[in-house]
């Protein structure tokens, strides 16, 4: 499978970008030229404005005279931690709900899936904003808020597939030879859902990264001084006309990471075609 992925140029590009950003996040303390929170006296011009990219500060400095490159490298940690944690949680919640509803059927399914429909009626960002405004956000609260709005599509897809699987003859056969619910779910249904979880686990990270960046840009995501690509733009947006690198460098980073996960997820989807699996 990996070989097939590597032969697809779009997927390869995605993988390389993800690996590069992941390595930068892991090696941040060694890779970053300066500590991300250090304010340099020489990091601001005589008029107190941020410095443009130059030999000392490669990508220039921000409004407080901090090194932008170092903040971007540490910001990769925030994006990836939230991306993985929030989306992982969303996939788990969605899978659990979809699986239970699809397997149990009847009233359980009706109630759970009507609730899913209901959640679909809320615009993700607005719901996340309301939740973030209610629980004053830390890194993990932001991840939780994003997970709470992003599980919905996963639940729908998993539900449809589980329903398709439950009606198969081999499940009937399992029951006939006395397999319990737990065994049927874990040994005979869940394995068929792994491709879907994998595809959503990848595509969903793109959505999550964008949502975190947007919340942080609106000032209710990850709070400064913890650097996040979104809050770097939030802090510096007033300088966009005179110091555009302060907006467009983190902006390019967000785009690259979201694009990479979208390309990889799309390639995985073509390869595994999980939507076919459920129909059996």
């Amino acid at each position: 499978m990996l070989r097939a992925l590597l032969r697809n140029p779009a997927a390869l590009f995605g993988l390389v970008v993800i690996l590069a950003i992941g390595l930068a996040a892991l090696a941040a303390p060694w890779l970053a030229p300066f500590p991300p929170d250090e304010q340099f006296f020489e990091g601001l011009s005589l008029e107190g404005a941020p410095l443009p990219p130059g030999p000392q500060f490669w990508l220039g400095t921000d409004l407080l005279g901090r090194d932008l490159l170092s903040r971007l490298i540490y910001g990769a940690r925030t994006s990836l931690i939230i991306g993985l944690a929030a989306n992982g949680t969303a996939v788990l919640i969605g899978t659990a709900l979809g699986l239970v509803a699809g397997y149990a059927g009847g009233w359980t399914a009706t109630i759970l899936m009507r609730f899913t429909d209901l959640m679909m009626a809320f615009p993700a960002l607005l719901l996340a904003i309301t939740l973030a405004a209610i629980f004053s956000p830390s890194l993990w609260i932001v991840a939780l808020v994003i997970a709470l709005v992003n599980w919905v599509q996963v639940a729908r897809v998993i539900y449809t597939q589980t329903r398709g699987l439950v009606e198969q003859d081999y499940i009937e056969a399992c029951r006939a030879i006395g397999a319990g619910h737990g065994r049927i779910l874990s040994h005979h249904i869940l394995p068929h859902l792994v491709p879907t979880m994998l595809v959503w686990g990848t595509l969903g990270i793109a959505t999550t990264v964008l949502l975190e960046a947007t919340l942080s840009f609106l000032g209710i995501g990850v709070r400064p001084p913890t650097p996040s690509w979104g809050n770097i733009i939030f802090e510096n947006q007033t300088y966009f006309a005179t110091a555009p690198w302060l907006v467009f460098c983190p902006g390019a980073a967000i785009l690259a990471l979201a694009l990479a996960f979208n390309l990889l997820g799309d390639a995985l989807n073509d390869l595994l075609d999980p939507l076919q699996q459920g129909r059996g």
Partner: protein, 306 residues
């Protein structure tokens, strides 16, 4: 048909009820105490108790919810903590600006999406197709606030073709509508392409070609009509994406709509406004989906016959 209509309407009403339950839950969870916000810090315990009674906060929870529901049915979304104005009044005064922005964004996304989708589908597998698909991936991966600031920087600050922000004329609308519409345009391009490729394989297209219809006529008259259904179904879902996007785009461009209202409310943790905008947006989504579902049989007679 009448049964389908009634069933679909009933479902929408149930979902709207569910939405009100959730928004009530959100208000209830909010840590800010509305009584303290209204009474101020120096209020006597008697004043606090009387305001509590006025607001119905001494009632059991289910009665409070029914009261809230009754207010909603009368179009009352509560009062802003900070501005002391009715939330409904605030939202209504800003709705026209947002609707104008949404209309602009829909035009942009349809032009970009249909144009790029048709161009890609008719050149399947060729470099132009690959380029358009790559561009659509970039469009759906781009953070809207960065795109907004980028367009502002290039077209307003550097080239001075459009005003830097504000509201009123068509020139003010171009950049915000473009920012909001590009994301949807990316999705539509992919959707139109997939839908058209599917339709172009069918026999009746062969027949149309055999009878001498030119490529333009085949696409626009014969194929697009059948590819339209998933596209219309998507317009209903779009409203959600737009409402989320409006918060970002309106705050970047200083567009005086309900997105900006929500953004200003976020800065002041003015929960009634945030929840009110969420409620209005969710209602808009339910209605959008309803309209899309009801329009489906009208577009595709096969559904009408069931």
């Amino acid at each position: 048909m009448a049964l389908y209509l009634a069933k679909r309407l009933g479902q929408s009403v149930l979902i709207l009820l569910g939405i009100s339950l959730i928004t009530y839950g959100l208000i209830y969870l909010a840590p800010a105490d509305p009584v303290r916000q209204i009474a101020g810090r120096s209020a006597t315990p008697e004043t606090v108790a009387s305001i509590r009674r006025q607001l119905g906060l001494d009632l059991p929870l289910w009665q409070q919810y029914l009261r809230y529901l009754g207010q909603l049915l009368q179009g009352d979304l509560g009062r802003s903590y900070i501005q002391k104005t009715e939330v409904t009044t605030l939202i209504l005064s800003r709705l026209p600006a947002t609707l104008q922005l949404l209309a602009g964004a829909i035009v942009v996304e349809l032009i970009i999406g249909l144009g790029a989708g048709i161009a890609a589908a008719t050149r399947r597998g060729r470099p132009a197709d690959r380029l358009i698909m790559a561009a659509s991936f970039v469009a759906v991966s781009a953070p809207q606030f960065v795109l907004g600031i980028l367009l502002l920087y290039v077209f307003a600050v550097q080239l001075r073709w459009f005003p830097i922000g504000g509201y009123g004329t068509l020139a003010h609308l171009v950049l915000p509508a473009l920012t909001l519409g590009i994301l949807g345009g990316g999705w539509y391009a992919r959707m139109t392409r997939a839908s058209l490729i599917e339709v172009l394989r069918q026999d009746y297209i062969q027949t149309a070609r055999a009878k001498g219809a030119g490529p333009g006529r085949v696409i626009l008259v014969h194929a697009l009509r059948n590819a339209a259904l998933p596209i219309v179904a998507m317009v209903g879902l779009d409203i959600g994406m737009f409402m989320s996007g409006a918060v970002v785009v309106e705050s970047v461009y200083g567009w005086p709509g309900i997105g900006q209202l929500a953004w200003q409310a976020i800065q002041r943790v003015d929960i009634p406004i945030i929840v009110g905008v969420t409620l209005v947006a969710a209602t808009g989504i339910v209605l959008g989906n309803l309209v899309a579902d009801l329009a489906a049989p009208w577009i595709d007679p096969r559904i009408r016959r069931g």
